[in-house]
C-alpha cells in the first residue's frame, strides 16, 4: 500500500541580500607595489602583522609595506571609512591588508 508523504513549503528565513560594492580588482603582482596595513588593534595584531610584513618583504623586496604603526592605526569601523579612505590614498596604497577580524 503506497503511503502519501506530507510536503511543507516554508519561507527561507534569511532575508534578501544586496551586493552594493564589488571587490577591488586584484593586482598583477606585489612587486613594486605599495601595500598598507590597517589595524583595529585586536586579536594579536601586534604579532601577526609583523610576520606578514616580514614574509611579504622577503618574497617581494621591491614592495613598499606601510606598517599599521605609521599613522594608519585605525579602527576600520563604518564610521571611520571616509578617514581610512583618505589616509590610504594619501599614502599611495595600491592594496590593503586589514586585520584582525575587521
Amino acid at each position: 500500500m503506497t503511503g502519501s508523504r506530507v510536503t511543507l513549503k516554508v519561507y527561507n528565513p534569511t532575508g534578501a541580500t544586496e551586493t552594493t560594492q564589488l571587490n577591488a580588482p586584484r593586482l598583477d603582482t606585489l612587486a613594486g607595489k605599495t601595500i598598507c596595513e590597517l589595524s583595529n588593534a585586536n586579536w594579536e595584531y601586534n604579532r601577526i602583522f609583523p610576520v606578514v610584513r616580514e614574509l611579504l618583504q622577503k618574497q617581494f623586496p621591491t614592495a613598499k609595506i606601510v606598517p599599521y604603526t605609521e599613522a594608519i592605526w585605525l579602527r576600520p569601523d563604518i564610521d571611520n571609512l571616509e578617514h581610512v579612505s583618505k589616509v590610504v590614498k594619501e599614502k599611495g596604497c595600491q592594496a590593503v591588508i586589514t586585520g584582525m577580524a575587521a
Binding site: G3, R5, V6, T7, L8, K9, V10, Y11, N12, P13, T14, G15, A16, T17, E18, T19, T20, Q21, L22, N23, R26, L27, D28, T29, L30, I35, W43, E44, R47, I48, V51, V52, L55, L56, Q59, D77, I78, A95, I97, M100, A101
Partner: protein, 430 residues
C-alpha cells in the same frame, strides 16, 4: 578564500599556520576572483520539506534549519505561507516594506522577514507592530548594532514597552516580567523573534559572526517587558516620557543593549531610613569596575544601564520626597567607584588612556562616576508588587539607547478580540 584557524588569533598563539601559508595572502591580493560579479539584490526562494507525515516533515524542517544555522537551537514552528500570512494581519504595512539591514551579515529585513521570525518563534499577529518598532530601534544608527551583534561582549537587547499596547498584547509588567509566563506570553515570543533575526538575518552565529565569549542565557528571548505605568508614583513619568520625551500614553518601544542583570535584594521602602538604605543598595550594585562604563565617549555619555524597581519601592521613595530626578542624582553620586578600586583593577599604563577621552569627569586620585550625568541613568518601574527586590541591568559595550513609536493597524480591535477568543480575558494577576 583561505581560512586561518581561529586559535592563531589568540594570545600567545603559534603563528606557524601563517608562516606556512603566506602564499595564501599573496593569492588573496593577486589572483583571487570573487564569486559576485555584479551589484544586485538576491531574494531567497521558498523551500520544500517532506516527511512521512506532518510530524516527520516538521522534524525534517528543523533539522534542515539547524544544518543551515537558521535556528537558535530550539524547535521552531514551520514558517509556512499560512502561518506567516496570519502574522502579517498584524500590520497594514505591505510585506515587502524594508525595515533595514541586520548586520554583520547584512540580510535585508522586510516586514515579511520579521513576520517569518515571529511565526517561527510562536508569535501572534498582534505582536508584529511591537516587533517592527523594536527592530527599527535596534537598527537606529546610534545603537551601532553591527558592533553589538558581533562583539566579544555577552550583550543583548533589553526592550521596554510603554503605552496601552503593552497590556493589550499580554506583555508582563509584574511578577516574573523578565522571564517565561504562560499568562503573559508576548515577551518571550517577541524576544525570541528578535534573537532569530539577529542570528539568521544578521548572521550573529556564535564563534562565526558573533564572538560573544558567553552569549548569555538571556539571549534566547532577550529581555522584553512592559513598564508598570499603573504603579508609577503620581509625579514620576514613564521612561518613554522622562528619558525620551514622548507624551505619556504613547505606544513606544525603548531599547538598550545590556550585558549583566543583577537581582537587587532589600528594596522594600516603608520609612525614610529604608528609602535611603534602598538607594544605597542600588548604588552599591551599580558602582562596580565595569570598564564598559568608560569604554567610549558615546557610552559614557549614553546610559550606564537600566534600573528596575517595583511599584512599592517607587511609591515608597516618592512618599518620602524622592522624585525620579533626585533618585538619579543620588545614584550617580553614590555609585562612584573609589579611586583605590580603579587603581587596583587597571594596568598603570592604561589609566591615562582611560581618563583622557572623559575629562573633566574622570581624573586620577578621584572617584569615577559611572556616567557623565545623573539623568543618563534609565529608571523604569516594573516587577512583582511585593517590591522586595529590584533589578539592575548594566551595559556592555553598548552605545546609545533609543525609542520608537509603535504603529497599530486599522484592524487592531479585531486582532484583540481574536486574542480574547483564543486566550481568554486579559489577565488580572500581576
Amino acid at each position: 578564500m583561505f581560512e586561518f584557524p581561529l586559535e592563531m588569533f589568540l594570545p600567545g598563539s603559534d603563528l606557524t599556520p601563517l608562516k606556512e601559508n603566506i602564499d595564501k595572502v599573496v593569492y588573496g591580493l593577486t589572483k583571487w576572483q570573487p564569486k559576485l560579479k555584479e551589484k544586485k539584490i538576491e531574494v531567497p526562494e521558498k523551500l520544500t520539506v517532506e516527511g512521512e507525515d506532518y510530524e516527520e516533515a516538521v522534524v525534517n524542517m528543523n533539522n534542515l534549519f539547524l544544518r543551515n544555522f537558521w535556528s537558535d537551537g530550539l524547535p521552531l514552528l514551520p514558517p509556512t505561507e499560512e502561518r506567516v500570512k496570519r502574522i502579517l494581519t498584524g500590520t497594514s504595512l505591505s510585506p515587502d516594506t524594508v525595515i533595514g539591514k541586520i548586520l554583520p551579515r547584512g540580510g535585508i529585513s522586510t516586514v515579511e522577514t520579521l513576520a517569518i521570525s515571529l511565526a517561527m518563534a510562536g508569535g501572534r499577529p498582534e505582536y508584529l507592530p511591537v516587533l517592527i518598532a523594536a527592530i527599527e530601534a535596534l537598527i537606529d544608527p546610534g545603537v551601532q548594532h553591527q558592533v553589538l551583534n558581533a562583539t566579544t561582549c555577552s550583550i543583548y537587547p533589553a526592550v521596554i514597552v510603554n503605552g496601552p499596547v503593552a497590556k493589550q498584547i499580554r506583555l508582563s509588567s509584574g511578577y516574573g516580567c523578565l522571564g517565561p509566563n504562560p499568562e503573559y506570553p508576548a515577551g518571550g515570543a517577541i524576544g525570541r523573534a528578535i534573537r532569530l533575526i539577529l542570528l539568521i538575518v544578521g548572521g550573529g552565529i556564535p564563534g562565526r559572526g558573533s564572538m560573544a565569549i558567553y552569549g548569555g542565557a538571556n539571549r534566547y528571548t532577550n529581555i522584553v517587558f512592559a513598564e508598570d505605568e499603573d504603579g508609577l508614583p503620581s509625579d514620576w513619568e514613564p521612561i518613554n516620557a522622562s528619558y525620551f520625551g514622548y507624551p505619556r500614553g504613547t505606544n513606544t518601544v525603548a531599547l538598550h543593549w545590556v550585558s549583566g542583570t543583577n537581582n537587587v535584594v532589600g528594596t522594600s521602602v516603608g520609612t525614610a531610613e529604608t528609602a535611603l538604605s534602598t538607594l544605597h543598595t542600588f548604588a552599591g550594585m551599580m558602582g562596580v569596575t565595569n570598564w564598559n562604563y568608560w569604554g567610549r565617549v558615546e557610552r559614557f555619555e549614553g546610559s550606564p544601564g537600566i534600573l528596575l524597581m517595583a511599584r512599592g519601592t517607587a511609591q515608597g521613595l516618592a512618599k518620602f520626597g524622592w522624585s525620579k530626578e533626585k533618585v538619579q542624582a543620588f545614584l550617580w553620586e553614590n555609585s562612584k567607584i573609589p579611586w583605590s578600586m580603579i587603581k587596583n583593577a587597571c594596568a598603570p599604563d592604561k589609566l591615562k588612556e582611560r581618563i583622557e577621552p572623559h575629562k573633566p569627569y574622570l581624573s586620577m586620585n578621584k572617584p569615577w562616576p559611572i556616567t557623565s550625568k545623573p539623568e543618563n541613568i534609565m529608571i523604569a518601574v516594573a516587577g512583582g508588587e511585593q517590591s522586595g527586590h529590584g533589578y539592575w541591568m548594566q551595559i556592555g559595550n553598548s552605545y546609545h539607547p533609543t525609542c520608537k513609536e509603535i504603529k497599530l493597524p486599522p484592524n487592531w480591535d479585531e486582532l484583540l478580540n481574536k486574542a480574547e477568543r483564543d486566550l481568554g480575558p486579559l489577565p488580572r494577576t500581576r
